[in-house]
């Protein structure tokens, strides 16, 4: 197991509003790491800062030995870091197939597009069925599935998911989390996910961080945090 992602004392925000105030965390290869917390504490901002959509005002981010701090988002995916944004953000006017093809757009993965398509449709057979359909016509769960598949098309070493459970029914939610587990099992991919749905996230995670007001409040193994009475009281209504 080696260190894949290192986030060191990162501060970030939008305009004059600071959201993250010196966050440090890391992810090792093969792990599933969850970052949980209430709405608006900075979980999304963390992911978006790592992936280059937001520029950090301070701190350092290293991925696979490369300093990616301040790189523009479109360069970062070439380093092996893919993100499934909140809600999936598929290109709704384009077909499932086109969405997947674009997933492999970046120069590093482009030549493997056909191979990746094959693998991804093997993993999610329903996408093969729906490949000519407009992405906007998919159901909620299928959309999330397609978004995850699209991210996998870039053959990432690490997959980041921004609130994968958002807007899904409990049944779909289970399915999506099962999917994530399957992806981790069958592909050599490390996962970092952020979630409001604390219980499910902690169940899945090897390790977890709790963010409160833009800083890391707690960290530890997933199972331990799941049974931590403070966390249970604060986030799981127990």
């Amino acid at each position: 197991m080696s260190r894949l992602l290192t986030v060191e004392n990162v501060s970030s925000g939008y305009g004059l509003t600071p959201v993250l105030r010196g966050v440090s965390m890391h992810v090792d290869t093969g792990e599933v790491v969850a970052v949980v917390g209430a709405n608006g504490v900075g979980k999304s901002t963390l992911l978006r800062t790592i992936t280059g959509l937001v520029h950090p005002t301070g701190g350092d981010i290293t991925f696979d030995g490369v300093h990616i701090t301040g790189l523009p988002a479109h360069r970062i995916v070439s380093h092996g870091l893919a993100m499934v944004p909140e809600g999936g953000r598929l290109f709704t006017f384009m077909t499932v197939m086109e969405n997947l093809e674009l997933g492999a757009f970046n120069p590093t993965s482009r030549e493997d597009t056909q191979q990746s398509l094959h693998e991804v449709m093997e993993l999610f057979p329903i996408l093969r069925e729906r490949r000519a359909q407009r992405a906007g016509s998919l159901s909620g769960g299928e959309r999330q599935m397609c978004a995850i598949a699209r991210a996998l098309m870039s053959r990432p070493r690490m997959l980041m998911l921004d609130e994968p459970s958002l807007g899904l029914s409990p049944v779909m939610l289970e399915k999506v989390f099962d999917l994530i587990r399957m992806v981790v099992a069958s592909r050599d991919v490390t996962v970092l996910l952020i979630e409001q749905n604390v219980a499910d996230a902690l169940e899945m995670a090897n390790r977890a961080y709790v963010i409160e007001h833009g800083v890391i409040a707690k960290t530890g193994p997933g199972a331990e945090m799941l049974h931590d009475p403070d966390i249970q009281r604060a986030y799981m209504g127990l």
């Binding site: 988002a73 479109h74 070439s78 953000r89 290109f91 674009l102 757009f105 120069p107 699209r150």
Partner: protein, 295 residues
């Protein structure tokens, strides 16, 4: 018979409007910026054809091969220097492109000293008759060129990877970035393509009109009307929107009053803008241009 004649006139006119607008439509749809100097790019295409004729003796239909790539480069420069710095500020874009309009018009005016040019072409002037209707080759060429361009552009956007990346950028810039698409570069290339298309229109129009520095003004507002009517970012929209505007102008000119024809399709443009800003075919509409802040 009269009606058929008007129909043909309208369609051919629609070809002109469509060709002038197809570049603007692409730019508007993808980048969501206003370029008031688009008519001047058409004008530059026209004068480019003249230049090719005056210095190299080229027929405009051959000059296309020189002028269109040249306008592509001009577009790239304009976007990089003027529009990219102003990407989030639509008011300033209006000023900047208006300033560009004034500069280009008056630069050409100063250089040509107001002399009107025309570009002769061996083929363009021929007319032929189909039954009772007379058709000029130059206008027919434009109609065919528009059709070919529309099909080519459609295929480019639909089938090629770059085309798909342009469509992706149109829909969701952030998601596009996550795919590894360089959004800024896509904008610049798109603007280049749009300018090249304007140049194409200019070259093909040069046998028809007498060149004057202000001629861009004739087209820019028609182009806006076509774009809004057809729908932002829709190739089919530019095509059919152009036809509709051309037909309306032809029929209004005949049945109502030739002097009012411009006002009439302008009113249509306003009505469409207000009632159905998405246009006939558009995916995203005028209202989105301001409402949905993308980054």
């Amino acid at each position: 018979m009269d009606i058929l004649n008007i129909l043909v006139v309208g369609l051919l006119l629609g070809g002109i409007y469509g060709l002038v607008s197809i570049g603007l439509n692409l730019i508007f749809g993808v980048i969501r910026i206003v370029n008031f100097a688009h008519g001047e790019l058409v004008m530059l295409g026209m004068y480019g054809a003249y230049l090719a004729y005056a210095t190299l003796g080229l027929d405009p239909y051959i000059a296309v091969l020189l002028v269109v790539p040249a306008l592509f480069v001009v577009g790239i420069i304009v976007h990089r220097l003027v529009l990219q710095p102003l990407h989030a500020e639509s008011n300033m874009q209006i000023f900047a492109t208006f300033g560009l309009l004034i500069i280009l018009q008056n630069a050409v005016l100063a250089i040509t000293r107001g002399e009107g040019f025309s570009v002769p072409s061996k083929v363009a002037g021929f007319t032929f008759g189909v039954g009772d209707i007379r058709v000029t080759v130059s206008r027919l060429v434009i109609f065919l060129a528009l059709t070919a361009t529309a099909i080519a552009l459609h295929l480019f956007l639909k089938r090629t990877l770059i085309g798909k990346s342009i469509r992706a950028v149109t829909q969701d810039r952030q998601a596009a970035r996550l795919m590894g698409i360089n959004v800024e570069r896509t904008f610049t290339i798109t603007f280049g393509i749009g300018s090249a298309l304007a140049g194409l229109a200019g070259v093909l129009l040069s046998p028809i009109y007498t060149l004057s520095p202000g001629i861009g003004g004739n087209f820019i507002l028609a182009a806006f009307a076509v774009v809004v009517l057809g729908g932002l970012g829709s190739v089919a929209g530019a095509y059919f929107g152009g036809m509709i505007v051309g037909l309306v102008e032809a029929f209004a000119g005949f049945y109502i009053d030739p002097e009012l024809k411009q006002a009439i399709w302008f009113l249509i443009f306003l009505v469409v803008l207000i009632v159905r800003p998405t246009g006939l075919f558009g995916q995203v509409g005028a209202e989105e241009v301001g409402f949905r802040e993308q980054n």
